[in-house]
Chain length 420, copies 2
């Protein structure tokens, strides 16, 4: 019998305990041994929980208990779980965590501390989708060319609504909050930070890149409007919040932002709260992994899969490799990434304005791929919509600043990157 202790018995923790009990038969058949939740840690012992295991408010007691063989960390936060996971690993207790923030900041230190002790984290990226296993094991023969993931269900739900129903961002957000898909303070989701944590984890497994959230471009979906969605459609694109990691000549680009992607690509067809990660390997070509990215039971499914792997005696190094993965691969600094761009400007409707705008773009080394002029709601204004050929992020940023300084251009310029 293998005894599991759970640090943090919230929604996911309750599901882990419940599934271990309710699906005990099949889990034992697959793991080869009975797996039992024996203890949970909560902050507030007086609160009622839907789970039938002993509870304590002392995490150290759980970690040190001779009754606990495997420690499951589901607390959230960074420094407190870091301290506790380190402690468990030092006690040579295998750890399973769903904590993406912890890993976004401390995965390399943890791999070092873990050594031969298993530290698994399937649930930290894309909930119930076994994407870590796929990348760490299933695609191990490949140099990874790119990863493109829809890894935040809140954003995908909101964008799907905006695409299908032409609804404004503010209204969709309110609806998502009412349905419980978005938090009261939605910044972590709609600002792209949640997706960024997940992307950093995948970027380590694929490329061995030791980056922190502050090292990469992180943008959200707050500035996307129905106009953008509509224009994207006209040109055969859908807009998705993507986490992108890809190998380019200069190294590895990693970034999270609203992205226009061809409507016929598989990942563009992923709607609603679902997640999906597309991985291109140099030998396998494109694969995609689809499923629920959140929810207590779906996340617990991934947590328990890790526990079963540990019980089976499987491990391998935490991030999937022991030493440098690909020599000389470095993160490309945000200013140096290259992309195609979509630009939306509101300008004064008079002769010479288009010339002023396009020559400003040209001066910054940006060449236009397609252009569309549309009426604005204001009588004396028109909308100019561009897609550009590939250029550097720094050139685009410079061009946008220069455009804003033109007195014929209104202040708000929308920029969305295009990914083919």
């Amino acid at each position: 019998m293998v005894k599991v202790g759970i640090l943090g018995v919230g929604t996911v923790g309750e599901s882990v305990a419940k599934i271990l009990l309710e699906n005990a038969d099949i889990i034992e058949a697959r793991a080869g041994r009975k797996i039992v939740p024996v203890l949970g840690v909560v902050r507030d012992l007086s609160k009622k929980r839907n789970v039938d295991i002993p509870l304590t408010d002392d995490p150290m007691a759980l970690i040190e208990s001779a009754e606990v063989d495997i420690v499951v960390e589901l607390m959230g936060g960074v420094e407190e779980p870091y301290r506790l996971v380190r402690k468990a690993l030092k006690e040579k207790k295998p750890v399973v965590t769903a904590n993406k923030a912890l890993l976004a900041y401390h995965r390399y230190e943890l791999q070092e501390i873990a050594g031969e002790t298993p530290l698994f984290y399937e649930a930290s990226v894309a909930g119930g989708i076994p994407i870590i296993g796929a990348l760490r094991n299933g695609l191990s023969a490949n140099h990874i060319e790119s990863i493109k993931g829809i890894m935040n269900g809140t954003c995908n739900y909101m964008l799907t609504k905006m695409i299908r129903e032409g609804v404004e961002y503010e209204r969709v957000l309110r609806e998502a909050q009412e349905l419980g898909y978005a938090e009261a303070d939605p910044t972590f989701d709609v600002g792209g930070y949640d997706a960024a944590h997940k992307l950093l984890i995948l970027g380590s497994i694929a490329y061995g890149i030791d980056a922190k959230p502050e090292d990469i471009i992180i943008e959200g979906i707050e500035n996307i409007s129905p106009t953008d969605v509509e224009f994207a459609r006209e040109f055969g694109y859908e807009i998705k919040l993507l986490g992108i990691a890809k190998k380019v000549e200069e190294g590895v680009e990693m970034r999270v932002h609203a992205t226009m992607i061809p409507a016929e690509s598989m990942i563009a067809k992923v709607d609603g709260v679902m997640n999906a990660v597309s991985v291109v390997g140099d030998r396998v070509g494109e694969t995609m992994f689809y499923g629920p990215g959140a929810g207590g039971d779906a996340t617990a499914s991934a947590v328990i899969a890790d526990i079963v792997e540990i019980v089976r005696g499987n491990s391998g190094p935490m991030l999937g490799y022991k030493k440098g993965l690909e020599s000389g691969l470095h993160l490309v600094p945000p200013s140096k990434i290259r992309s195609q761009y979509y630009l939306k400007l509101k300008v004064i409707d008079r002769p010479g304005v288009l010339a002023a705008v396009t020559s400003t773009l040209g001066e910054h080394g940006i060449s236009v791929e397609s252009m569309l002029q549309k009426p604005s709601r204001l009588a004396d204004r028109v909308r100019l919509l561009f897609t550009t050929h590939r250029c550097r992020e720094s050139e685009m940023k410079g061009a946008i600043e220069a455009l804003k300084r033109l007195d014929v251009v209104d202040d708000s310029v929308t920029m969305i990157r295009i990914e083919k």
Copy 2:
């Protein structure tokens, strides 16, 4: 250094050797040890191969060679590889196979013989997609509710062409043969047998069902016409060749056939030669795994992933569990499966015919969900198209026989199962 011997150096074998050499850096980083192809077996030593390893025509010599640590079986066929894989396992040499036919017939004997020696087979189902790993490891917390897979690229390519371009089966088949997507004798692919072998393997991992190809319904796409495709579209369905394994009240249904599925489902969106497997778990909900189902490099990617797992020291029981998986689960006999059906009949265009047809359906316990009458190319004939509510396969088979006996009904009745 780990030394790999390859039984069968055809397209996939060449790719395995080539990728082990060309991606040696990343594979070593991930496996923790260098992996080298040292010997290959071919039938005809005089034929030129695109691979730089020593070759022999003596498979036993490879298996017994002290130079070979891991045996990769890529020969095709059933009894000859069965003999050789048994021999390798008896020598305690880990085996990796891509041979679905071998596993469709002998997987349970092989699991028994393998014991603690690893026997991996990721490449046997859906080529480069790591679906075996997902099902065996990633979803191990779940009772599996259903598996629905597009597991034959030839059929999916042909159906996609028929759907998009309204082309007749015969012409699409000819095109597929010219492009190399279909064999000169296409029966194994278009008749559903290839998909059936793969389904049986997944059915064992998910449900522990020990079935052989002859125990399940295997139908192909030979009778699908542009009319069927068009009718399906009108009612919001796409037609795909699916391998289906699902838990129902009476046990587990397993079957391969052309299937009408809702156009908005993710798996309906999988086009061309690509494969995808949708798995619904009782806890995780729906997940889907998408990618290339064939091709030398894609298949080799899966073979090498298995080799890396073995080198990392991971194993677990071959089919993912040690003893009975779910007690009391049995294969539902083909005649007892339940489904909704689509029926297409050509009938004589005169009063009373519709009444005769519908009362025959009623007598066999079949109730109609929707009906459409369409003109036929023959002046005195019309087409009747039905979808039915759920009924037993045996009832439907009886009804079709009775319909054919009506003298107002032409002999060819098309039946396609509907899966929601």
